[in-house]
């Protein structure tokens, strides 16, 4: 009889208290993982803001208004962007980065469009998609015109889903 009781205690089903403790341990381990993930992502974010601040609000001079005529597209390699003068003499500053997978675009003067060397996406002068695989228009930068001098805020690239006139600037 005594032996039987002993056997019962040794059965594989653990006492409830121990199961509970094990679960608490697992929960603590899980929490530690979540914390580690949160910690690393917050450190990464801190670094990102440091880099962003270093660049600050940075303006690049893109030349005088008079030097552009309607339809001109000028590459500004030091800021990795293009300044386009649209048909109605409004200016738009376009990121040089293809919205498909980030390759560097070039302006095809003969065909009047931006062409991506990687996957063949094309964009018109205002950065709107002509042929996919790209789905989104090119990112743009705010442009300011002060006394006929065109200045581009290169620290502030903006995503957009479609083109409208508010993205452009005129004299």
């Amino acid at each position: 009889m005594e032996q039987e009781q002993h056997l019962q205690l040794d059965t594989p089903s653990q006492p409830r208290r121990r199961t509970l403790l094990n679960r608490i341990w697992a929960l603590i381990a899980l929490l530690a993982f979540v914390e580690l993930g949160w910690l690393s992502s917050s450190l990464l974010r801190a670094r990102k803001s440091r880099y962003d601040r270093r660049q600050g609000s940075r303006y690049v001079d893109a030349g005088r208004v008079e030097s552009f005529k309607a339809g001109d597209v000028k590459a500004i390699p030091e800021a990795l962007l293009f300044l386009a003068c649209l048909e109605d003499n409004r200016f738009i500053a376009l990121s040089r980065t293809c919205t498909h997978l980030g390759c560097a675009l070039s302006w095809d003067t003969a065909e009047d469009k931006f062409v991506c060397p990687c996957h063949g996406s094309t964009f018109d002068r205002a950065g709107v998609v002509l042929t996919s695989p790209a789905l989104r228009p090119l990112d743009f930068y705010p442009v300011r015109i002060e006394d006929g001098q065109i200045r581009i805020d290169v620290s502030n690239s903006q995503r957009r889903e479609s083109f409208d006139a508010s993205q452009t600037t005129t004299v």
Binding site: R45, Y51, L101, G102, A104
Partner: protein, 429 residues
């Protein structure tokens, strides 16, 4: 006080018996059961740790110096270039060996209920290996690295909801730049390796706990046992040292690739992701980005991870592909998957993508839901067909899994070797 040294308990032997039991089942040590793939992966990991630590002495992770530090590695009296070669080739080989190891475990029926946890750990390890490879890819800071990482971080940006945030977090800024290099260096040398070590130890321990490698069902007789030392250990040493010898020889003859220094102003044409992500990049040329980058890979990974949890999915243990006609089923499914992917790519390229006809449906439907549904229905029909031909459920599911694996393989091959400038179809050897 005297210390007794027992001759049979040398430290090395003691360590070996932490990994292995004294006696192992004779049939589990035959080479054609495992091809030593798990052991090869472990060997490669050790080589990677050693060469990685050595490279810390010659590499600089500052974006202004990184490229030059690689060039300097190949300067005359230094062995650093050779060590970089070993590290590069071992890392690439590890991706291949890990994938083969995963297929081996599934096809020999080892992914059963008793090894569920170890299967999940193995899947996690595969993700970590890919992460380690991908973060290491950027470190040379050459054109190849720069644009491959640009393309991949942009691919991550298509993940719904958090994609853009995750990819900016990885890059450390809006575009790939000095911050990206610092991030990737820290992740590559500091974050991923410890996780791999911990999971590897757990992985090994769970194998021993499940009674070693998978073996065929009990035939009533007691299995033949052999001593782990020397029989098993000698075989492991042969595979490990043989692999190391081939790796060192190859690295002495073939340099790891290094192109021009990274130039954010000009992408090479074509710009490709790392080879193990070329299947994804190929898919991206055909499907809506959300599907190509997120939904399809996620579904495939979930199917893979859930294999030991599906009832009746376990293949006959200890045999390849369930035995009998299973091997033929496996080979035909895999080749059909590869060929099917190639045909689909060519048909899409010729008939639909460049036809110029306006799309009938929104891209989300025509290049997302519709192809996905067709694929799922086709795979379901394959399963039904095999079941009606009296194939057991496990082999029918194996055919579906290997069809998917074949398609992934086919897309990867097309992406690597059949995409030329402008990502046009053609030879690019």
């Amino acid at each position: 006080m005297t210390i007794k040294i027992r001759p049979h308990h040398s430290p090395i032997r003691g360590f070996i018996f932490h990994l292995h039991p004294r006696k192992v089942v004779a049939e589990t040590i035959r080479f054609t059961l495992s091809f030593g793939l798990g052991g090869m992966a472990a060997t490669l990991f050790l080589v990677l740790v050693l060469t990685g630590v050595l490279q810390l002495l010659s590499y600089s992770s500052d974006s202004t110096e990184a490229y030059q530090s690689i060039i300097d590695m190949y300067a005359a009296p230094s062995l650093a270039g050779f060590i970089r070669n070993v590290h590069h080739w071992a890392g690439n080989l590890l991706v291949l060996v890990s994938v083969l190891h995963l297929l081996r475990v599934y096809l020999t029926g080892a992914a059963d209920r008793t090894r569920r946890l170890n299967w999940l750990i193995g899947c996690t390890l595969l993700v970590l290996v890919l992460g380690a490879n991908f973060t290491g890819y950027l470190l040379p800071w050459d054109q190849l690295a720069f644009w491959a990482v640009t393309i991949f971080t942009n691919m991550v940006g298509y993940v719904p909801l958090a994609g853009v945030q995750i990819s900016e977090l990885l890059r450390g800024s809006a575009e790939v730049g000095p911050a990206t290099l610092e991030n990737f260096f820290a992740i590559h040398v500091g974050l991923i390796p410890p996780f791999i070590v911990v999971l590897l130890v757990y992985h090994f321990w769970l194998i021993r706990k499940s009674g070693g490698l998978v073996r065929s069902r009990d035939s009533g007789q007691r299995p033949v046992m052999v001593a782990a030392v020397p029989t098993l250990v000698a075989r492991e040493a042969a595979v490990g040292f043989g692999l190391c010898a081939l790796l060192l020889l190859f690295s002495a003859l073939v340099d790891a690739p290094l192109t021009d220094i990274a130039n954010p102003g000009a992408s090479p044409n074509p710009a490709k992701a790392a080879w193990y992500f070329m299947g994804l990049q190929e898919l991206l040329l055909h499907l809506h980005p959300t599907f190509a980058i997120f939904i399809v890979p996620l579904l495939m990974f979930l199917l893979l991870a859930s294999l030991p949890f599906i009832r009746q999915a376990g293949l006959e243990p200890g045999l390849w592909c369930g035995g009998g006609r299973g091997r033929w089923t496996a080979a035909i499914s895999f080749l059909t998957g590869m060929g099917g992917a190639a045909i689909l790519v060519v048909v899409d390229e010729l008939a639909f993508k460049n036809s110029g006809a306006p799309p009938v449906l929104t891209p989300w439907l025509s290049r997302g839901m519709v192809p996905l549904l067709i694929l799922v229905i086709a795979l379901g029909l394959v399963y039904r067909l095999l079941r009606s031909k009296n194939f057991p459920p496990s082999q029918s599911l194996m055919a579906v899994v290997l069809l998917c694996a074949g398609m992934v393989c086919g897309l990867t091959v097309i992406g690597i070797w059949f995409r030329g400038p402008g990502m046009m179809l053609g030879f690019s050897f």
